[in-house]
């Protein structure tokens, strides 16, 4: 029986971090099933789904990664998945929409937008922001499959927030962005 672990790692970015971490996991017999990483403000963070032989423990993983020679220590978190769960049990992004926001930078934008999502049981699948010359841009991919309100109500709520906060907010179906940016039309 294999164990399924979800591992998150954060460190000051430098060349070789992914090689070091995956090397340490390989030494434990780990097989990386999925990995996602990003660099923000000079810090790398990555999350991995890894299967291990049944005798490997969370402590073994901590120890193995801690032994990687690095100027700065890795901040680590390890979670074992229950036997009943699989890495590919990812909820399908049905009824997935892209929320885009543009406007002057001000405090509380992410909180306000995510609160509207949370209040209406809209699940945020992905979120990215950028700030250029005091112009704030946010792109949010979210699923409205289990939303407790209609799409029209949700759009209206975002519209009202955008008006109050002087932000331009649009909510469009995810397929539209794929259709206009990808070569293959699904």
């Amino acid at each position: 029986m294999q164990k399924k672990m979800v591992i998150s790692v954060m460190s000051k970015d430098r060349p070789g971090i992914i090689a070091d971490v995956t090397g340490a996991l390989l030494e434990l017999g780990g097989d990386v099933a999925d990995l996602n990483q990003t660099v923000l403000c000079g810090y790398l963070t990555m999350i991995l789904g890894v299967t291990f032989p049944s005798d490997i423990t969370r402590e073994d993983i901590f120890a193995s990664i801690s032994h990687v020679k690095s100027r700065e220590k890795f901040e680590l978190s390890v979670k074992e998945l229950p036997e009943t769960e699989n890495f590919n049990d990812i909820p399908q992004a049905e009824e997935s929409y892209i929320l885009s926001l543009q406007g002057p930078n001000c405090k509380g934008i992410v909180h306000a937008v995510s609160s509207i999502c949370g209040r209406n049981n809209v699940n945020i699948i992905d979120l990215g922001t950028s700030l250029q010359q005091d112009r704030y841009t946010m792109a949010v991919q979210c699923s409205i499959k289990d939303a407790t309100c209609t799409l029209e109500e949700l759009r209206k709520e975002f519209e009202e927030y955008g008006r109050d906060a002087e932000q331009t907010i649009m909510m469009q179906h995810y397929d539209l962005f794929r259709a206009t940016n990808e070569v293959t039309l699904h």
């Binding site: 892209i98 885009s100 543009q102 699948i125 992905d126 990215g128 950028s130 841009t137 792109a139 991919q141 799409l151 029209e152 331009t168 649009m170 909510m171 469009q172 179906h173 397929d175 539209l176 962005f177 794929r178 259709a179 206009t180 940016n181 039309l185």
Partner: protein, 460 residues
């Protein structure tokens, strides 16, 4: 997740460039509606349109809401009615037009095309009766559009039908004189008419098509104009941009615009369980500010539309639109080019008023774009033979160049050069276009018969 710049480019296209789907047009075969009597045929037609298109408009609206892109026009096209009403007489065809109008109104579509005949080689007795019915049919209905195909590259031009067209157009205009001859704006004469065109007034459901099909017309020229504006603003230094880079921008924008049309068309098709036909790549202007092909001429360097260089610009625009659109869609069809309808494009109409755009230049421009002399208001006093002769020139361009051309001329009763006419809404407004050499073509039109099909080699 897509990159944020990809997201923002699409958002800009939707938000700032007023992206929409210009039309979803459902084509319905009506051949099996023919019955022994006109009344039974009309009942069959209404029933069939209800069956296929009952949920059409709500579904288009629902998909527009879901994707956040409006479907501006919901239209129907039907089998050319001269085939459906074979054997009927003039009054019978008028009754069929009224039945079509009732059906179109009841399913809430904007307009219905296909009150049509195809007579490029010869005319049957039914065709004669049908053509004779057109003025009354258009005068007594609201949503019906008519078209006649009188020429093809394979068969040449039916000169007998051509001679009838001038008289038919004059009769339509006179029957609708209370509304400045508006009926003529719903009648178009074609060469090489496609059977899957979603745009009006020339939409038909061709005999080669299946039982029912959905064809989509993509967004208008405003999207292209805004994309060009943005590109030029990003490169303000002299010499920073060259013509090929502008062509590339048009191509890429058209790709994205076409994809939106394809996506929504397919969603409507799946929801209704009706086959998806084609995306028509035509850039169809509207009188709305910022939705003009004429504006693209100005952005690309024409200080006056119709000045030397206008034909070259239109050729590039038409070609770039096709290059971008064809890769974006599985099946492209219809007219697929840039339209230059004078009344429906505020800057083209303005150019006519300023005298920079004349009929002859417009005709030259139709050699490199779709679809032809479109929505051109002329003086009500222009004689029928001159109108037929103008159409003959346009048909010849289509026949020889193996492309679709058309003429939608509106002889406005009581108006002369110096006057203007306005139909309002999507049909727009324009000054009366001057016509030179009026009354000098009657001997040519009087020959009748056929202009033979051209040779298909030695193309110089």
């Amino acid at each position: 997740m897509l990159r944020s710049d990809q997201i923002l480019s699409t958002v800009e296209m939707i938000q700032k460039e007023n992206l929409d789907v210009r039309t979803v047009t459902m084509g319905i075969n009506l051949l099996d509606c023919h019955a022994e009597t006109v009344a039974k045929t009309c009942a069959n037609i209404e029933e069939k349109i209800h069956t296929f298109a009952g949920n059409f408009v709500p579904t288009c609206n629902e998909m527009g809401e879901k994707y956040g892109i409006p479907v501006v026009n919901k239209r129907l096209s039907v089998t050319p009615i001269a085939f459906v009403g074979a054997g009927f007489e003039r009054d019978g065809f008028v009754e069929i037009a009224k039945a079509l109008d009732r059906a179109a109104t009841s399913v809430n579509v904007d307009i219905l095309g296909g009150f049509s005949a195809q007579v490029e080689k010869g005319m049957t007795q039914t065709d004669h009766e049908f053509i004779a019915s057109i003025p009354d049919a258009l005068a007594q209905t609201e949503k019906i559009c008519a078209s006649i195909n009188i020429a093809t590259t394979k068969k040449g031009i039916n000169m007998d039908a051509l001679a009838m067209m001038g008289h038919t157009i004059k009769a339509i205009a006179e029957k609708t004189a209370d509304n400045n001859g508006f009926g003529a704006a719903k009648f178009v004469v074609f060469c090489n008419q496609p059977g899957d065109n979603p745009f009006m007034a020339g939409a038909i459901h061709g005999l080669e098509e299946s039982e029912a099909v959905l064809n989509v017309g993509v967004s208008g020229p405003g999207v292209i104009a805004r994309a060009l504006d943005r590109l030029i603003a990003d490169h303000p230094e002299p010499g920073a941009l060259q013509f090929d880079e502008l062509a590339e921008e048009i191509k890429q924008t058209t790709f994205r615009v076409t994809r939106c049309g394809e996506l929504i068309g397919r969603a409507v098709s799946m929801s209704l369980g009706i086959e998806f036909g084609v995306v028509d790549l035509s850039l169809a202007p509207t009188p709305a500010i910022g939705d003009s092909v004429g504006e693209i001429f100005k952005i690309l360097g024409m200080d006056a539309i119709g000045a030397p260089g206008s034909t070259a610009i239109l050729a590039m625009l038409n070609d770039a639109v096709k290059k971008g659109g064809i890769f974006a869609s599985k099946t492209v069809g219809g007219l697929s080019g840039a339209f230059i309808p004078v009344m429906e494009d505020s800057l083209l109409a303005e150019a006519v008023g300023e005298g920079s755009l004349c009929l002859e230049k417009l005709e030259a421009m139709t050699c490199v774009c779709s679809v032809g002399l479109d929505m051109v208001p002329i003086a009500g006093s222009v004689d029928a033979d001159t109108i037929s002769a103008i159409i003959a020139d346009e048909m010849a361009i289509g026949v020889i160049n193996a492309k679709t051309t058309a003429a939608r001329l509106i002889p406005v009763p009581g108006k002369e050069v110096g006057d203007s006419v306005s139909f309002g809404g999507l049909f727009g407004a324009a000054p009366i276009m001057p016509i030179r050499n009026i009354g000098k073509s009657s001997r040519f039109i009087a020959w009748g018969g056929r202009m033979p099909a051209p040779i298909h080699s030695f193309k110089n």
